[in-house]
Amino acid sequence: MGMDINTGALRKNAFRVTKRRGITASRVRIPGGRMDAKLLGEIQKIAELYGDGTVHITSRQGFEILGIPFENIDKVNEALQPLIDELDINQEKRNKGYSAAGTRNITACIGNTVCPYACYNTTEFAKKIEKEIFPHNLHFKVALTGCPNDCAKVRMHDFGIQGMTMPQLDKSRCVSCGACERVCRKRSVKAITMVNNKPEHNLEKCIGCGLCVVNCPMRAWTRSEKKYYKLVIMGRTGKKNPRLGEDFLKWADEENIIKIIKNTYAYVTEYIAKDAPGGKEHIGYIVDRTGMEEFKKWAMKDVHLDSETIEYDSIYWKGPKY
């Protein structure tokens, strides 16, 4: 009997059509890139029982279990259940594996549980977004990074989230050591100048990296109680016009960012090219077509930005055009 496989359904189920006939691979999503180490055992088990015993660590912080014959797909899906449960992935039907693949795994840098520079718990926020937007067939790439250093390369995503803190200065605790001014000048954006032997902070220039806080020996600089984010949008890799995402919101909050990402699904559904190959089109190309104003009309629905949030009106993307 010849193999009769619906490749569309296969792909949607997070399996890959590989170059070898009859052999697939299963993509395991790890939102926020962090999981209990015991789950590695589950992955190992699937690879050894149903695949060729190897896995590839994907560029989106997942695992791809390789060398799986098509006939093992159902068993793989069943075996994936502990991973899906443990990682709390939204699912339409139990034991049927992943319900969609279009909206990619949400990646995150290591975040503030480990890194001294990160401004928030990136994994936690990634999981929160995952719960809101997955499963969905639309091709959305979201990534989170703890600080403006952008180790997670979020500017190459449709939505990139960078952690920020709004530095607070208690001048009475300042000893004029100059550490904040020096580190900001040498490693960040020169948002601090010394006036009368104490730092003056230029909030407009400040990117919220928090290096002044980390380098202050006195707790004169502290982090804002509230956590802030920069939202960069419509970056992408790809063939026609790869480009870095541009700043859309600065000093934004978590809830509104989630709202904007969710709202964008409706916008894409409305405007995606009807003839998009594989029903897949980077959101940026759609925005290029409709214009930023139309995008904002949809994305900013019911979004009430905090008074400190800065919204950039005119955004111009660069990148080579082929």
Partner: protein, 342 residues
Amino acid sequence: MGYIIENKNLDLLIDKLREDYLVYAPMRYKGQGEFSDTDSIRYGEIKKASDLELEAKSEHTFKEILMPISETLFYYTEDEVKVAEAHNTKEALVFVRSCDLHSLSRLDNIYLNNGFGDFYYKRLRDKLKFVLIGCEKSYDNCFCVDMETNKSDKYAFSIDIRDGKAYFDVQEEALLKYFESVESQKADVSPLYVTENQTRVKLPSPENIDVNFINDHELWREYDKRCIGCGRCNFSCPTCTCYTMQDIFYQDNGKAGERRRVWASCMVDGYTDVAGGGAYRKRNGDRMRFKVLHKVYDYKKRFKDNNMCTGCGRCDDVCPEYISFSNSINKLYDATKGGRDD
């Protein structure tokens, strides 16, 4: 006189004390640590019992109450000078652990007994009474036992909190009334103290220190690169006393301004700069040597007193480069080959 008070009645005691005193103690400042989602433990004025942070070791000390981090000395106009008021004129109770209580004598020596007496220090010092926080256990990096500061005998009162109760030994008679005024139980109480630390130091004997030999010793060179000269060790030290004078002028009236003194660190660039661009101790290892000798040799020699270092270990707690001060004392001991042997 000893008292035991149920934790739930502590607020009442603090209310009573606050009628007459400012109460300063280690507090937990949520989210104000160096890193995201970490807290800062430092001194502040407490309003209620739950403000007290008696579990964790503070990263900064009580000294900022006695010698404000940035203290205005006087205000001036073109031809007039006006002494700044003290930041508080009320009497205050300051909660400290034994090591820190010992450090008080070091601050007193520098500010009151080294040449001139210090007007600003004295006027704050006269307002303070000290409350001993008992130590049930030794913290990371503490070496109070070897520095002989693990026990204190003189305090206004002591406090130990365990099993839902607070234990007080009240030495200052004037304070007895506060304890009598709340629901309390009389008992024999003596503050807890530690008798051993994991961190041990061997102190070099002063007679074994040959300044020429030690100053040129290879041991300091390691710190030239390891130390980043950030000054955290000094700012967290309960016995560091240095400051720098600063004049500032008001931006709206360039002819008026103030002179203040601001904490200084012998590890931070600029400390030894002289007019004309000269500087001494340019290498961080030399600054380390200056600091270590100050804490375990120079001070002792000058004041014929204890060592300046009280073994609180905060310098080790806060060093971002994991430089251990206690280890540097031991290295100094080894370099001098001899001294007090335990």
